[in-house]
Amino acid sequence: MNELTLASFAAAADLHLVGEPRGSRFAAFKARFDPRAELARLAALDIRFLARSDPSFPELLRAIHDPPPGLFLRGDADAELLARPAVAVVGARACSAYGRQIARSLGRDLAGAGLVVVSGLARGIDAESHRGALEAAGSTVAVLGCGIDRDYPAAHRELARQVAATGLVVSEYAPGVEPAPWRFPARNRIVAGLCAATVVVEARERSGALITADFALEEGREVLAVPGEITSALSAGSNALLRLGATPLTCAQDVLESYGFAAVAITPAELGEPAAAVLERIRAGPAGADELCRASGLAAGALAVVLTELELAGTVSVEDGVYRAAS
């Protein structure tokens, strides 16, 4: 269990280590360290440790330039989940309603088709892709940039719990490690490393999501980007990736094809006459309730009924009073 020693030493010394250091401090630590006691402590916290030397350690992650000594796992799923075909869906924390919508439906469609959706549990795009995957009752993996026992950001404690209930929360950091700015880029190499493809949904010019894309490119993995409005600063980074030759992503099918997966055809629910007309109008472009009122000729009350039906069917979503079609 040399890797566990290494991971624990890194946590104790607040260092980021992928290989064994030569210094005397590590030697002293190693002599003192009792892997069995440490494993018992982890087990008490309901945390497992998957060493790099373990045969079930994901091959893709082992193949990267600086694989972590091992991964701490939290959640009900088997470690085998990490070896399944996975796709990273990443993006900015500060994102637009459009980005949120895309991340959600991508998460839903990809997980629904059987891929594992990997992301970083951050605010914005990351959280939405996890939520989408959970909605489709698919598998999702959250990679943390802090100790495995922490829920960061705190606002996503409930989301982390849901992810752990059906998938896995993983981290290369032992319990107790504080989040630090430099740990998130390191986390991103694991997000990219676990997946054969990385999708950047929305990113500013200098977003952390681009670091994930860089890692993916360095390891020769596929990088896809969702085209954004060319005038929107929120999409500057993802559009720059497209200019550099990333594959444009226009629907979940683009990813699924490269994995050889078939999309799960969602049979559209039977819609009534007014509902179909309203949906068509929303598909033509996002609109507020009042605009839809005028376009459909329905009274405000009747329109509210139709919109709720569409929302419950999952075909439209609303944010800041604007209704959008789910792709």
Binding site: G288, D290, A300, D320
Partner: protein, 484 residues
Amino acid sequence: MLARSVTHALVGLEPRRVEVEAHIEGGVPGFAIVGLADRACAEAKHRVRSGIGSAQLEWPLKRITVNLAPAGLRKEGSGFDLSIALAVLAASRQIPADRLAEHAAVGELALDGRVRPVRGAFAVAEGARRAGLARILCAPESACEAELGGVEAIPVRHLAEAVAYLRGELRPPPAEPPAEAVEPDLPDLADVRGQERARRALELAAAGGHNLLLAGPPGTGKTMLGRRLVSILPPLEPREALEVMRIHSVAGVLPSERPLITRRPFRAPHHSASTAAIVGGGAGPRPGEASLAHRGVLLLDELPEFQRPALEALRQPLEDGVVSVARVQGQALFPARFQLIATMNLCPCAGRGDPAAECSCSTQRLAAFRDKLSRALLDRFDLVVTVPRPRAEELAAEPSESSAPVRDRVAAGRAQLEATRLRRTAEADELLNRAVERLPLSGRGRSRVARVARTAAALAGADGVLPEHVAEALAYRSPKELAA
């Protein structure tokens, strides 16, 4: 020589009987007021002396002691002047004491002897009626108000007039009945272009008495809509009107020329208002904006700009319909059953929800903005409508429905809500359960949706709550993005 007159002090909204005893005896001439009088009340000494002099009456050059009983009750304000002057005059045998004892009196004295109106005349008159007194002497400006309190008001312009009346030399003309309210026209809903959803929500709010939150970028007509809620509400019932008048009288905002209130009050305090200004307070507690909006509408424009303590203090009246202001000397209860309309932007830079602008708020700034509104407060809003910026063509739309037909529908809906207990059908229940699973909807959110659905059913004239009513109510639920 001892004489008494009666008036009432206000504790919160409650009139408390105060006996003004004047005692004159020989000795070094002097004048003292005892009985826990505050500064304004103690200064009555000088006003009363000048007033009596100006009325060409005799100031007894003896030792005068005035006691305001009960001595333990704090007396505030200048409303005791008239009673003190009359008690002194009765004690010096210038007016008949027995006749004075049949009258209550309220009013401030000017140095030239004129009688000035004071706030709370309505409540003082009510106190007089309860104390078994049939007449009250007051300033002509307060006369209408005092008559509404159920006693005969004797309007006196000057202390000399009061004296002449009590001596039986003069009968002042009776108070004119309050003029039929010729109130300025309320802003009408017809002024609002477009905004179909928000108008519909306003109608539901009026019919069900729901609190409404309008969110959206600036310039979308949120405030304009909020100001028009009163125009579609039914007028006050007589019993409600009395409650409203009592509060407004004590706060001193009752217009003297037409004190009879029939229209529901509308209050829109500025967001810089203090907690005491909103829920009431002060050493001798006075009603705040929340109480002034009792049985009416309280509009809080730019909700997140209000001080958080002021907003949190509103939770009690929103729950119980009453504000209790606790002081060392006791507790004052002010009724505050109002309907809350609030407006807010979607983010501090106001760019959100506006296709023409881009939001430049950082995540932290947005979180701080949303933190200002606690979940607990947001939970009090049954209806939340997000109004995106309309496009130019919507503003060019033809004039919309005016307030009158909406008011009729609201009245019918209210009657329906009162007459029958609307129940959800099995299908409606099923839809609500599905929504709780599918949408981010808390337990409290669920009961709010159920309430609004009942109102929608009543407006539609249905005998039960159908799935379509639940579906409509769901469209006005509180969106997840408003809470941090």
